[in-house]
């Protein structure tokens, strides 16, 4: 099959799965998950075929796979939509296909397929366990199957369609369409358990916060269309004349060229979607959703889409400054670096296993954004790919841990939060597979040297920062890397090492193969994915494997970016922060007994409180934006404008109409119109009554009358005829 046709077909199976599940297979759980996983498998297959064909093409950046249709006539030209696979989208397609497939498979086990129905489960609430009696008549509580099982698969099917659409699209408009579909699915899936008030609040928060970013992005898209007349990537980002023209035209904001302003507007969409500061507040709350959702949407794919888009528009951001930093890039770098450090500090203080990972995701996305800001195009893309794998792994691993803990909770009947790390401990013995894969993921996140993918991608970012002289960014990112390693080891230690701190942790159980197989596969990628991007001048092993990634992805740009020269400083810094952070984390948190407080909290309680409350940003936004919005809606618009002014006006109009109507009726209608009618009738009656008297029946009177009339007429006749 022609590659272009295949590319068109890739997004379709999950969409089809969505419709099939929603319309037909909703009742049957196994048909639904089969349809969904099957669709993910088909798309994965298509993506693999396209990817492997793509890497075989020489100078793929110049001869990409592209196909477009004329869709809407717009004046003289046509609006075209189409698909495109260039090097950037090829690698994105690769990791998206793998992570999506793994997460679909994982969801089967996560939602407890095969388990009995819960005792008090109803749609909208998390499953609460079912009571079964075993052979000896003992009653056990076991995990129960999710009541809205099929619905979940329908939603993630729709989501997968959105992501695939975004990746294969060749223009900003269809990218935006995929972007929004994913935003919708994120909303639906965060609030999957809609009976929980916290889930409902979180889904709205996510949608509205990302919406703020999307508005600016739409402005950017419109602006771009207005000045170039197209939204096609090849025509803008691969087109030197357009880029130069945009770079030379000044924009409405002093100091920024048109390209810069458009770039910043579009980037604000990334700030929203990829949860960068200041629009980061939604991602931690999004952990209300089921863990596969957190893994897929909020780690591997949707938030990555924000960075993908930013990487895509890099030519726009960098237009005008040859190999230097434009104002737009400076802004991007600032946001990225700040976010990376900011959320890493918050992650230190979180106790919920998923929250730590959420802040970690924000931080790592900050890394990618910062890398882009300083011009390290390939490094940003590299980190995007590797991060997707190990972050998905970490989230799925945390889901596995939570499931194991829940099993313990059901078994013991303890009322503890199965997600709180301070209730865990010693799980390495109970859940070995989860432990080892989580460890691999955690090390990858921390940048453990050589054998993890995260090391290679993070190191490249640090090297690019140092090598191009962005020392402030370098320092910030290095500090963030230290904190990352620290909180990651904190997480691993609290969860898996040491001894169980609660009864539930003692009775945790390993999860089924549908959940552990994806962990293993992703762990493989977390180890190996970095080896495609080993820099050429790396000591000892550099040069053994070509830096395929750099050559391939770098080809997306007009000019192949230069690989930064090797320098020992960033490499050493990277090693120190990674290993040092890991060691410190283990040191501080090992062997914490049950009921113990967090040592960091004990050491610096005020700082810890600030971190734990996330620098009070939620409260700030609440006061600045949410309350005024409610006030405007409830008081100003509803009471004053709607009921007071508009309804008041309507009531006044009605009253005036009533008065006019009454006046007309009483002063015109009744006396004049009716009066006239009555008058006519009455006068005819009166006339008749009065005239009736001549009908006496007496013929002598009739004769008199007749003779008088005769006399009158004869006189008249005489005068008219004879005297004229």
């Amino acid at each position: 099959m022609a590659t272009e046709t295949l590319i068109w077909l890739i997004p379709l199976p999950p969409l089809l799965a969505f419709f099939l599940i929603v319309l037909f297979t909703n009742r049957s759980k196994w048909i639904s998950h089969t349809v969904a996983v099957g669709a993910a498998l088909l798309s994965w297959l298509g993506s693999m075929v396209v990817f492997f064909r793509a890497i075989r093409v020489e100078h793929f950046g110049e001869e990409i796979f592209a196909s477009s249709l004329s869709w809407l006539p717009a004046g003289d030209t046509w609006f075209k939509i189409g698909v495109q696979i260039d090097p950037l989208s090829a690698v994105t397609l690769f990791f998206v296909a793998w992570t999506v497939l793994m997460i679909f498979l994982y969801s089967v086990g996560y939602h407890n397929y095969g388990q009995p129905k819960g005792d008090h489960d109803r749609p909208g609430l998390q499953p609460h366990g079912a009571t079964v009696s075993d052979a000896h008549g003992h009653q056990h509580t076991v995990p129960s199957i999710e009541p809205m099982y099929s619905r979940f698969f329908a939603f993630i099917g729709l989501f997968a369609f959105g992501m695939y659409t975004l990746v294969v699209s060749d223009n900003l408009l269809t990218l935006f369409i995929g972007w929004e579909i994913m935003g919708l699915c994120s909303y639906l899936l965060i609030g999957f358990w809609y009976a929980k008030p916290s889930a409902r609040a979180a889904m709205i928060k996510a949608f509205i916060t990302t919406r703020v970013g999307d508005v600016f992005m739409l402005l950017g898209i419109a602006y771009l269309y207005a000045v170039t007349g197209t939204l096609n990537y090849r025509e803008i980002f691969y087109n030197p004349e357009v880029l130069n023209r945009l770079a030379e035209t000044p924009s409405y904001i002093v100091g920024l060229s048109t390209a810069g302003l458009i770039g910043i507007l579009l980037f604000i969409g990334t700030i929203g979607k990829s949860a960068q500061w200041p629009l980061h507040v939604w991602l931690p709350d999004a952990m209300e959703g089921p863990t596969p959702v957190s893994a897929m949407i909020h780690a591997a794919t949707m938030v990555s889409a924000g960075v993908y888009m930013a990487i895509r528009i890099f030519p726009l951001l960098s237009a005008g400054a040859e190999h230097g930093m434009t104002t737009a890039m400076g802004f991007v770098a600032f946001i990225g670096a700040f976010t990376a450090l900011f959320s890493a500090t918050i992650a230190l203080s979180q106790n919920d296993i998923k929250r730590v990972l959420a802040y970690s995701t924000i931080s790592q996305l900050g890394y990618m954004v910062a890398a882009l800001g300083i011009g390290a195009y390939v490094a940003a893309a590299f980190h995007l790919v590797t991060h997707a794998f190990f972050k998905a792994l970490l989230f799925l691993g945390s889901g596995s841990v939570i499931h194991g803990m829940e099993h313990g909770v059901y078994h013991t009947g303890e009322h503890i939060d199965p997600q709180d790390m301070f209730n865990m401990g010693g799980l390495r013995k109970k859940m070995p597979l989860t432990f080892w894969t989580f460890l691999i993921g955690g090390f990858a996140l921390s940048g453990f040297p050589l054998v993890t993918a995260g090391f290679w991608s993070k190191d490249e970012i640090l090297a690019d920062a140092f090598g191009n002289g962005h020392i402030l960014v370098f320092g910030t990112l290095a500090l963030a890397a230290l904190l990352t390693a620290f909180y990651t080891m904190r997480q691993i230690t609290l969860t898996f090492l040491g001894e169980p701190r609660t009864k539930a942790a003692e009775h945790a159980k390993e999860t089924p193969w549908t959940m552990t197989l994806p962990l293993v596969i992703l762990a493989v990628f977390s180890v190996a994915a970095g080896w495609v991007g080993i820099p050429e001048h790396f000591p000892a092993i550099g040069g053994l494997l070509p830096n395929w990634f750099h050559e391939f992805v770098g080809g997306t740009l007009l000019e192949l970016p230069e690989a930064v020269a090797f320098n020992a400083v960033p490499l050493l810094t990277s090693l120190v922060v990674a290993l040092g952070g890991l060691y410190l984390g283990w040191l501080v948190y090992r062997n914490l007994p049950a009921g113990a407080k967090d040592p960091v909290e004990e050491a610096v309680p005020s700082v810890h409180t600030v971190l734990k409350n996330k620098y009070y940003f939620d409260e700030l936004y609440d006061t600045l934006f949410v309350r005024p919005a409610y006030w405007i809606s409830e008081t100003f618009t509803s009471e004053w404008m709607d009921r007071g002014v508009i309804d008041g006006f309507l009531h006044w109009v009605a009253m005036v109409t009533g008065i006019i109507g009454n006046a007309l009726r009483n002063y015109i209608d009744k006396p004049i119109v009716n009066g006239f009618g009555d008058f006519v009738g009455e006068s005819v009656k009166k006339f008749g009554r009065n005239f009736r008297v001549i009908q006496t029946g007496r013929i002598q009177q009739y004769m008199i009358g007749a003779l008088f009339t005769l006399a009158f007429f004869s006189v008249l006749f005489y005068y008219l005829v004879y005297t004229r």
Binding site: G697, R698, Y702
Partner: protein
């Protein structure tokens, strides 16, 4: 002073008017018929006067007068029969009481 046509004409006009008064003003039905007779006689006098003064050689005037006689007689007969019939039914011959034409 010779007698001229005018005398007869005035005479018959007067007789006619008196007869008209009787027709219009009298209560009793028979009295009304008497008035009618007066009128017919006045007409007859008029006819004959015109014959004598204007065309004495023709006999048409007298012939006409004869016809009037016959008609008058017939009319009186029928009228009185009617009056008797009404009297039998309504026990009255006062013209004003016979007002069944009134609505």
């Amino acid at each position: 002073m010779m007698i001229s046509l005018s005398y007869y004409l005035i005479f018959s006009a007067a007789l006619f008017s008196i007869g008209l008064f009787g027709v219009l003003a009298r209560k009793n039905a028979v009295a009304i018929l008497m008035g009618v007779e007066l009128m017919l006689n006045a007409v007859n006098v008029n006819l004959v006067a015109f014959w004598r003064f204007r065309t004495p050689e023709l006999i048409a005037g007298q012939a006409f007068a004869i016809m009037v006689f016959a008609v008058a007689a017939a009319e009186v007969a029928v009228g009185l029969a009617l009056i008797i019939s009404i009297y039998r039914r309504r026990n009255t011959v006062v013209a004003d009481d016979i007002d069944m034409l009134k609505l």
